[in-house]
């Protein structure tokens, strides 16, 4: 159950060479573009762009297999419960009704619903490659520098840096505690009843938190002694200067974002692309 938080590997691709700030900004613009649009043509175009980038950044399928399975499970359950809760939502959005299949009661499959749910499926799926590229090509130590470079307070950025730095340590603590408790006969698998699982989870959480509280004292004293937070700004060892290709990448992502909005405003006149009228 060991998850490496950022399974970052140092490669030399155009994506890896971009600075962390660039990757964070482009990631946000591109995901917001697909989040906003419900136009399947835009979504598919962005998705193809994302897959090309995935190719360029030389990410292997084995690196993202587990994630893909999680995402697929999420998308399928989301599709099922959307249909279960709102089988007529597509009709409501697109304003027409073409029935394909009668199932039972109010659960009739319409072309509008099918179109809405397909769009939604691709909409959510198309964001994933961007997240993967961002996570796997950004040096974790550079991440805090990028956050602060975007204008976020350096104290908050430093908290994020601490999270990334101490995640493996705390994960190791968690495993030690969990195995020690299991050696004493604690059952945390599906065999135990729900109430027992809840109680047993607590027996792992309590020592984990109290050992962390001690660690917090220790680290904050060490940081105070080194004068952390004395000044309003700070510099970052890992910060990269923005180069020509960084500005290019930012411009491309902003353009994609603007085009998406313009298509919605002027061509579709709403967030949805309606092929039924």
């Amino acid at each position: 159950m060991k998850i490496k938080l950022f399974s970052y590997n140092r490669l030399d691709t155009p994506i890896h060479r971009l600075s962390g700030i660039t990757k964070l900004i482009t990631f946000l613009f591109l995901t917001f573009a697909v989040m906003f649009s419900y136009d399947i043509r835009v979504i598919i175009a962005v998705m193809i762009f994302a897959l090309i980038l995935l190719r360029v950044s030389k990410i292997k399928f084995s690196q993202i297999k587990v994630m893909m399975i999680y995402v697929l499970i999420f998308l399928v359950t989301n599709a099922i419960i959307t249909f279960f809760f709102a089988p007529e939502y597509g009709v409501e959005i697109y304003g027409t009704r073409h029935e394909i299949l009668k199932i039972f009661g109010r659960y009739n499959l319409t072309r509008e619903q099918l179109f809405y749910q397909t769009t939604k499926f691709f909409k959510y799926a198309s964001v994933i490659p961007f997240g993967i590229i961002f996570l796997l090509t950004t040096d974790p130590s550079e991440f805090a520098a990028s956050l602060s470079g975007m204008g976020i307070s350096y104290k908050v950025s430093y908290a994020v840096a601490l999270t990334l730095r101490y995640f493996p340590d705390i994960q190791r603590d968690y495993q030690d505690i969990s195995q020690a408790q299991q050696a004493r006969g604690l059952e945390i698998s599906k065999k135990a009843s729900l109430l027992n699982r809840f109680k047993n989870a607590l027996l792992i959480i309590v020592p984990l938190i109290f050992s962390t509280i001690e660690r917090i004292e220790l680290i904050s004293n060490a940081m105070d002694l080194r004068g952390f937070g004395k000044f309003k700004t700070r510099t970052w060892y890992k910060k990269k200067k923005l180069k020509k290709q960084d500005y290019l990448a930012i411009i491309v992502s902003v353009l994609i974002f603007i085009i998406t909005i313009l298509i919605s405003v002027f061509i579709n006149k709403s967030r949805f692309y309606n092929p039924f009228i």
């Binding site: 159950m1 998850i3 938080l5 995901t31 989040m35 993202i64 994630m67 999680y70 995402v71 999420f74 359950t77 099922i80 419960i81 959307t82 809760f85 709102a86 939502y89 959005i93 909409k123 964001v127 994933i128 490659p129 961007f130 997240g131 993967i132 996570l135 104290k155 908050v156 430093y158 908290a159 994020v160 840096a161 601490l162 999270t163 730095r165 101490y166 995640f167 705390i170 994960q171 968690y174 729900l194 809840f198 989870a201 607590l202 792992i204 959480i205 309590v206 984990l208 938190i209 109290f210 962390t212 917090i216 004292e217 680290i219 904050s220 940081m223 105070d224 952390f228 937070g229 949805f272």
Partner: protein, 185 residues
């Protein structure tokens, strides 16, 4: 009011490490529920505890960073509406900071009630209002679906924050020196 939003080195470190535990609990220690896409997240017990001990800024950031990070690791991209709602819930839990006597080594009935009232208000605002509305605005999900999910999340997270948060606070109060525990002879 100012002391609520004070940020010192300890707040920063608590936020960083708290978010790391939040991420781990969020991914590994959850008790599944029969309703799809929801589960009893023990992580909210942790964010409630840290919010009471370290204040609203720490509480809000812990759940925001922790949720965003675990979403990113598991699904490749954060589900922004719920990540923001998580942050809001942690922030509101923080209003129990300095309202209880936990730092004085006491966490009795009145403190437990104060904490739980604030905690339930926080969860209700985050999951019944913020999360569904953002889901509709950002992702255009069907309203009845997101409000049902929100209601379930409110109940589940209130249980998690209430039970785990209260127990952690009682245990933590035990480690603090009691006020007036020294007397002159």
């Amino acid at each position: 009011m100012k002391k609520y939003f004070e940020v010192n080195t300890k707040t920063i470190v608590a936020t960083g490490l708290g978010a790391a535990i939040f991420t781990i609990l969020f991914m590994f220690i959850k008790v599944p529920s029969p309703i799809p896409e929801t589960s009893l997240q023990t992580a909210y017990g942790l964010s409630a505890f840290f919010a009471v001990v370290f204040g609203p800024i720490a509480g809000g950031l812990i759940s925001f960073i922790g949720h965003a990070l675990s979403d990113a690791v598991q699904y490749g991209s954060p589900w922004w509406s719920w990540v923001i709602a998580s942050g809001v819930s942690g922030f509101i839990f923080g209003f129990a900071y300095k309202r209880t006597r936990v730092e004085d080594g006491e966490f009795k009935l009145t403190d437990i009630v104060t904490f739980n009232v604030i905690q339930i208000i926080g969860n209700a605002i985050a999951w019944l209002i913020v999360a569904p509305i953002l889901d509709i605005l950002i992702y255009a999900e069907p309203a009845n679906l997101v409000f049902t999910q929100g209601a379930i999340a409110t109940v589940m997270n209130s249980i998690s924050a209430g039970v785990i948060g209260t127990l952690l606070l009682i245990a933590y109060a035990g480690t603090r020196t009691k006020k007036g525990s020294l007397s002159k002879k």
